[in-house]
Symmetry: C3
Subunit: 122 residues, 3 copies
């Protein structure tokens, strides 16, 4: 999980709008978005381990395996979390709670570059 | 699960816009949002019990336990449901289906005050 | 899972806006939305089977059973996936990744007509 809150915040700031809505979409089906606790890293660790255990690699029911054992779990993990998030902002600041951070969640073992589409409106 | 459909509907009404989009974000990582069946309470009961059983307290894999046994399950349950929702409205009314209600879902055993950020645009 | 990417794209095109945000909400609690792999159908098949196995019919814990064994699983499966999605568009085209499609996911055994509310803004 890679935090991208600061980058998003900078983009919102740069837009110059006082208040509005920032929508983020990840343009992939084997990675996802989540808003999670940004303080104690053990919370993210436990969350990742929970998903690893409940959507494991090498599940004998999987048939979509040509790209390797981490391919199908990555699609399911993405479907269970978020592909799009819409975050209000006020006075140029994302209205996230104190302990909230926005994360790109890579579900492949070896991730490559990931792309987000971002929309900002008043 | 606490229904907040009527409050949201009142806020949309108050805005005076005929049509647009109402986005709600919960500013916490141990509570979440969901749109669920608003008629028979047994559906929400079963949904809560399913999540309780699949993301139980006292899972021996959890390391993020300093705030008590309900802390880590609450983050996972929030990640599996929704932090942001965007609901179109028409003629000043949320375009929800007949059986849909918007719920704030408290995942801690002893919840405190919860805050939503709401954006309404044309 | 029924793909609706082309219909959404056509609606966006028709609006005549160059760039903006397209928000989709499904007006039901026993069907949902997801953005998933649009190439190899085996990925969607495995995803559906995973959810079938983890939220099975005839779970003895379910009490909301008056509408049949597929009723309660459909609400849980909907809560675990998405009810609303917001997709940015640029030059009249949804900014989806190459392998992303938008799907209506019917969770009842015998689905009926399903309705989406769609909001498009600049």
């Amino acid at each position: 999980m890679h935090e991208c809150t600061a980058e998003l915040q900078a983009i919102v700031k740069e837009c110059g709008l006082d208040a509005g809505l920032c929508t983020v979409m990840i343009r992939h089906t084997s990675a996802s978005l989540t808003i999670q606790e940004n303080a104690d890293p053990s919370a993210r660790h436990d969350l990742e381990r929970w998903l690893d255990r409940h959507v494991p690699e090498n599940d004998p029911h999987f048939t979509h395996t040509s790209e390797g054992p981490d391919d199908m779990p990555s699609h399911i993990r993405a479907a269970l979390t978020s592909t799009t998030l819409s975050i209000p902002f006020v006075e140029g600041r994302l209205a996230l709670g104190t302990w909230q951070g926005v994360y790109v969640w890579e579900h492949r073992t070896r991730g490559s570059a990931r792309h987000l589409a971002i929309h900002i409106g008043p």
